[in-house]
């Protein structure tokens, strides 16, 4: 049995434009359907229609078309933020909430709770409170709570967007379990990287229209549509795509092992890795942390003796699982936290004694969730907020030019909270251009961004470096980290494991194994084939392979 989406058109009000225009596709039973598309293409609106939110809770708009499901078909949704979805103090309370609403008998409720706890392997969490769970655990409990209702279709809206690598692995395991049980699942996420193994069917939307409807392999073969949709595909597939443009007869691959085999057929088997020449140019130290220790009131040691150096015009990424102390550490750099012991020096001068606002003239932190930062009435005013607050001169022409450069000019008079998530994030990042700060810290800057916006982010970072700024990034997007960083600082349980160039760290498999983070495929393959240096992005890797073929 499949579920048919037929000719859906929707606009939020009579005088607004259509957000969805004649959307039609099938959701096959027992398959995983991925709905992808750039930021603002209508994915969230489509989820609202499929889940019945439109028109039940939001009857105001104009809706045409149909989603042919019987009255007894049960559709459940797992949202991006489990903290906004879970009802119940404890895990058992949260899981049983939905089935209690169905008026089932007590023994049936107990049976279903036990079933989902076993299925998702979270029995060990049952007596915990939801507030003490990690992001991945909370999301797993959220999935359990809707699974207990035995939905015919399970819709997941960007379920791993704010999770660390461990959290993503947990959800991958959960999805594999669901697939094995034949659960019909729809995943709305523009990042195919984390669930490409289990996707069966891909539906691509641009500007509210279906531009692709086919299986995963057809999608991976269609390079043009991948580019238009701004979908983040697995890096192995990206390598194949770029390499196949330059090399004939390359067999398709989408896993590391397949890549080793197929590329090996081209250039020969693995070789011993030639030691990297250190091409890192040191520059002036602008921000230094010395022996930072932080113990909170409850006795928890969040940071233990963290030393770090941040140089001018460099990009330094901070890696680590959730709870490793990354955000706690950067909050010491901008003065939000004061260390229990240790110092932070900016241009040689200690920052203690200054307020956060005073420090922000030198060191600015852009938060993870743009809605914590947005409050002006227009996009333009939001862009120049930092300049206004810090008394920095700017020209209107420069500000409008920046908006135009990043496709926000037509939204300049719009209320910032009305923008899509990715554009909101971009706006908060752009506002630092008009700040006096020389050190800019981004906490998870890629949250909510499609590939187009990520490319804009890379461009923004290059421009900031070009202006002599220092950029510090906290990110779980490992391929991006290796692509744009000069140095990587790794934290684990509040302790600094290392700070070094990405070239040097590419050889440190033991460190990445300790923090349970996998190196990007380009790095793994570079080392496997003994390239002259461990490549950090697809284009340089492909060029190295092509050069070797020519030789």
């Amino acid at each position: 049995m499949s579920f048919t989406v037929k000719g859906i058109k929707y606009k939020y009000s009579t005088d607004a434009c259509f957000v969805l225009k004649d959307v039609s596709f099938e959701i096959e039973e027992a398959q995983v359907t991925a709905i992808v598309g750039p930021s603002g293409c209508g994915k969230t609106t489509l989820v609202s229609i499929l889940s019945g939110v439109i028109p039940t809770l939001m009857p105001m708009g104009e809706f045409e078309g149909s989603f042919d499901v019987g009255e007894n078909v049960n559709i459940s949704v797992v949202s991006q933020s489990p903290e906004n979805q879970l009802f119940g103090y404890g895990v058992e309370d949260a899981i049983s909430f939905g089935i209690e609403n169905m008026g089932l008998k007590n023994d049936e409720i107990v049976r279903r709770v036990e079933y989902v706890l076993d299925l998702l392997n979270i029995q060990h969490l049952r007596k915990r409170s939801v507030a003490t769970l990690s992001g991945g655990q909370r999301q797993a409990v959220c999935i359990a709570s809707v699974l207990a209702m035995q939905p015919d279709i399970l819709i997941m809206d960007e379920p791993v967007s704010s999770l660390d690598p461990n959290g993503k692995k947990m959800i991958q395991f959960v999805l594999n379990q669901l697939r094995a049980t034949g659960q019909s699942t729809v995943i709305v996420d523009n990042n195919l990287d984390w669930f490409s193994d289990i996707v069966d069917h891909v539906v691509g939307l641009i500007d509210g229209e279906v531009v692709f409807d086919g299986d995963k392999n057809e999608f991976y073969d269609n390079f043009e549509i991948q580019g238009k949709l701004g979908v983040t595909i697995p890096q192995e597939v990206e390598i194949y795509r770029e390499l196949s443009k330059k090399v004939n007869g390359l067999n398709k691959f989408c896993t590391i092992n397949d890549a080793k085999r197929e590329i090996g057929k081209l250039i020969g088997p693995e070789r011993a890795c030639i030691k990297n020449v250190n091409s890192f140019m040191k520059s002036e130290e602008v921000l230094v942390s010395e022996g930072i220790c932080k113990t909170f009131q409850d006795g928890f040691h969040a940071l233990v003796n963290v030393d770090a150096v941040f140089e001018r015009s460099k990009v330094i990424s901070i890696l680590g699982q959730n709870g490793s102390g990354k955000t706690t550490f950067v909050k010491h750099l901008n003065g939000l936290y004061r260390p229990t012991t240790g110092t932070v020096r900016y241009n040689g001068i200690e920052t203690t004694g200054k307020s956060v606002a005073q420090i922000s003239k030198d060191i600015i932190l852009v938060f993870q969730h743009p809605e914590h930062m947005l409050f002006e009435e227009t996009v333009y005013k939001e862009l120049v907020f930092c300049a206004t607050a810090q008394g920095v001169d700017y020209s209107e022409e420069e500000a409008l030019s920046l908006l135009s450069c990043y496709d926000l000019l037509e939204d300049k008079d719009e209320l910032p909270v009305n923008l899509s998530m990715g554009k909101k994030h971009l706006l908060t990042i752009l506002s630092v251009f008009f700040s006096s700060a020389e050190v800019i810290i981004f906490d998870e800057p890629t949250l909510g961004m499609d590939l187009h916006l990520k490319k804009k982010l890379e461009d923004i970072i290059k421009r900031l470096i070009g202006k002599g700024k220092t950029v510090i990034i906290i990110s779980h997007d490992i391929p991006l980290v290796f692509k744009i960083s000069d140095q990587i600082l790794i934290l684990d349980e509040g302790v600094k494991l290392t700070q070094n160039t990405k070239q040097a760290l590419a050889d440190c498999d033991d460190i990445f194994e300790k923090i349970n983070i996998t190196l990007p495929p380009v790095v793994i393959l570079s080392k496997y084939f003994g390239l002259s240096e461990a490549c950090s992005d697809v284009n340089s890797f492909v060029q190295e392979i092509v050069d070797r073929l020519i030789c």
């Binding site: 906004n84 009802f87 307020s355 606002a357 938060f367 914590h372 930092c386």
Partner: protein, 271 residues
């Protein structure tokens, strides 16, 4: 303490009590502190409360509460002091003087009785607030809902009350994060004049409002996803049962109430 006005997870005897027992405690103590005006009786109640706090290891949270409400208590104490200062009472005098204002004669008289009266009213308020806080500290919102449901309170009301306690920590955390985010962008909330600080706090209220509205929207969506329907008869995964600890606690509550009533009768000084 970041967890003020929130449930604190602990393994105390208070946490193990049936929520209905704690509700009864709160209702009885609220009524008692509303009617009891004897200083001796109130002191006895304070001793009982202190014993409960110490045995359940929540003393440090009550100290935090006391610090937070000290201004209110001081205001109440001083208010009654001032109101009684222009009345002449029996008993020891601390300071008395005659004064003339606008050709009228007044007697300013600070008596022991004024101090007693101010203390009684301040102690009553503190006991009322701390009875409520004792229940909130030791009962999570799921237990609150279960307890109210077992008393046949309509689920819509019980769920609403539980939701308030679920959302309060979220809003406190959101406010704190927004403050951090805006000061990180240059909004001065520390080293500035009181007026500038007030103005900047008002500025922060707008993103807080957006976030609260956003959370409200997400919660209403979640209620839809979980098919919450107040017209459907709900069942329950968990059942609450009273234990011997509840019997002990109820006995303590009843005995304390009886002793308080006796002390009120024996040692009441008309206020």
């Amino acid at each position: 303490m970041g967890d003020f006005l929130q449930y604190v997870e602990m393994e105390s005897f208070l946490h193990k009590l049936d929520p209905r027992t704690k509700f009864m405690f709160f209702i009885i103590m609220s009524v008692l502190t509303s009617f009891v005006k004897s200083g001796t009786a109130l002191l006895f109640l304070f001793v009982v409360f202190t014993a409960i706090w110490i045995t359940s290891h929540i003393g440090k949270f009550i100290i935090v509460l006391a610090k937070k409400v000290k201004v209110l208590l001081l205001f109440i104490f001083l208010l009654w002091l001032v109101l009684g200062a222009f009345k002449i009472n029996e008993g020891p005098v601390i300071y008395r003087t005659a004064l003339t204002l606008f050709d009228n004669s007044y007697t300013f008289s600070l008596d022991w009785f004024d101090l007693y009266k101010g203390s009684v009213f301040a102690l009553r308020i503190f006991l009322m607030i701390s009875a409520f806080y004792t229940v909130i500290l030791s009962t999570n919102f799921s237990q609150i809902i279960l307890g109210l449901r077992s008393w046949n309170v309509p689920y819509a009301v019980a769920f609403g009350i539980g939701l308030v306690f679920q959302i309060i920590p979220m809003i406190i955390k959101e406010f704190s994060t927004i403050m951090e985010a805006q000061s990180s962008r240059g909004l001065e909330v520390d080293k500035c004049s009181a007026i500038a600080k007030m103005k900047n706090y008002v500025i922060i209220s707008l993103p807080l409002l957006f976030r609260v509205l956003g959370k409200g929207h997400s919660i209403s969506l979640a209620m839809h996803y979980y098919k919450l329907n107040f017209k459907v008869k709900r069942t329950s995964f968990k059942l609450i049962r009273a234990s011997y600890l509840d019997a002990i606690f109820v006995s303590v509550t009843v005995i304390s109430t009886a002793i308080t009533a006796v002390l009120q009768y024996m040692f009441y000084i008309p206020l």
